[in-house]
């Protein structure tokens, strides 16, 4: 029952992300994405291999259904999936990763989940903005865009994590 709820909510957040991409272009300097936390919240029993394949498919789906460039989200999300277990080991402890326990905000606390989300969001937005600007954007505007996106998306990601696994 818990898994069904998780899957339904997961799909809802993916759809929400697509809708956000399509209809809520807030600013040129602001991107909101919950995809890093959707990768973080995948079962820890999944290794990097499955996580990356899933991240690729997820990124493809988001790009396909939104008016963005096909492939850019996959390109930024696959590295997030690659380092996910490493981030979990650093932030939550190696035994958590080894035992394959699920990540919940209630048990692990908001600061740790926020830190993990921050790390993954940072990686995601650095790659995303780098590829999206394609050398046409200067360093400081790109940095501003990355920082603003991380600043806004990290709390959203924590909220999403809390909703996905409330207990």
């Amino acid at each position: 029952m818990k898994n069904v709820r998780f899957i339904i909510l997961y799909v809802v957040f993916v759809i929400a992300q697509i809708v956000l991409c399509n209809f809520f272009g807030l600013s040129r300097y602001l991107l909101i994405s919950v995809l890093p936390v959707l990768i973080l919240m995948l079962p820890l029993s999944w290794g990097a291999l499955y996580s990356m394949l899933f991240a690729f498919a997820l990124g493809f789906a988001v790009d396909f259904f939104s008016d963005g460039m096909l492939g850019i989200t996959s390109f930024a999300l696959v590295p997030v999936a690659l380092v996910r277990r490493f981030v979990v080991s650093i932030v939550f402890g190696a035994e958590k990763s080894a035992r394959g326990e699920e990540i919940t905000v209630e048990r692990l606390g908001i600061p740790k989940v926020a830190l993990a989300a921050l790390m993954l969001c940072s990686l995601y937005f650095v790659i995303f903005v780098w590829v999206d600007s394609a050398g046409t954007c200067g360093f400081w505007p790109a940095l501003l865009r990355i920082l603003l996106s991380i600043l806004v998306s990290t709390p959203v990601c924590v909220a999403v994590a809390r909703l996905l696994r409330p207990q």
Binding site: A48, L49, F56, G59, D63, L70, G71, A134
Partner: protein, 272 residues
């Protein structure tokens, strides 16, 4: 075993990661012209760096062969340079000799010292010119600084001479341009010293006068400087000998001139 499994799993993860990123990039290239240009530029840069690196590595390993070729060329150029240097020195020596006003009746052949002894009482000198070069026995060996010796025998390519540092060699010398004439011999007291012997007691030889070849000989051209007088000594209460400091530095001798008198045979026949 577990370590091997972890290694292969890591390898597979890395491979899948690269494949997925390349796939994402391919999609990105097709979907956006801007990103297409950017990726092309990026890939060109990567290719340039890669090929540049490969070329640098190839160049590095090709340096050994290049070095061998350069070393060979260097050797050839060195030989050529030495040849020209020797020619230049010989020409300079000849011009000095010409400016010294040597009599034109002598034939001069520049030569290089191949070997020379200075440690015995009968020292020799071997030169790199022989009968093929026109060298004849009984020719004088000189430098613009002074007399060196005389040719004793010749080979086709080399000639053997007796240096002034040989007790058997005697050179007819003159003190000053118009001074007394006496035989100059080596007394075995160092390579920079010789004596004028058989000087009559009543003749006074001042110190510091230049000693030259007298020309009263079919071997040595006249007025070749030999050294300077350094003092007079009485020998056996009968005759004086004059000490002479030689001009030629035999320890640093390398290039000499062979002076050959073409009229020597005629003069010798007339003397008989």
């Amino acid at each position: 075993m577990a370590r091997h499994g972890t290694f292969y799993a890591g390898l597979a993860t890395a491979a899948i990661f690269v494949i997925l990123e390349i796939a994402a990039m391919s999609m990105l290239k097709r979907s956006s012209p801007l990103q297409d240009i950017w990726i092309n530029r990026f890939s060109h840069n990567v290719m340039a760096v890669t090929w540049g690196g490969v070329n640098r590595i190839q160049d590095y390993f090709g340096l050994r062969e290049q070095n061998e070729i350069l070393a060979g060329r260097n050797y050839e150029l060195f030989k050529e340079l030495q040849h020209y240097k020797e020619m230049e020195k010989a020409l300079m020596a000849m011009s000095k000799l010409d400016s010294a006003g040597l009599p034109p009746r002598f034939n001069y052949i520049p030569a290089e010292v191949t070997a020379m002894g200075t440690n015995s009482r009968h020292n020799y000198i071997i030169l790199d010119k022989g009968s093929d070069d026109g060298v004849l026995p009984q020719s004088a060996i000189v430098t613009p600084n002074g007399a060196v010796g005389m040719i004793y025998s010749v080979d086709k390519r080399y000639s053997y001479g007796l240096s002034l540092l040989n007790e058997r060699v005697s050179v007819s010398a003159r003190v000053g341009k118009e001074g007394l004439v006496a035989p100059l011999v080596w007394d075995g007291q160092g390579t920079a010293h010789a004596i004028l012997r058989d000087i009559p007691l009543h003749l006074d030889v001042p110190v510091g006068d230049t000693v030259l070849t007298s020309g009263i000989s079919a071997v040595f051209p006249p007025d070749i400087p030999i050294g300077v007088t350094a003092g007079t000594r009485l020998i056996d209460g009968a005759v004086n000998v004059v000490d002479v400091n030689l001009f030629v530095d035999f320890s640093a001798l390398r290039y000499v001139i062979i002076a050959e008198n073409p009229d020597r045979r005629i003069i010798e026949e007339m003397e008989r």
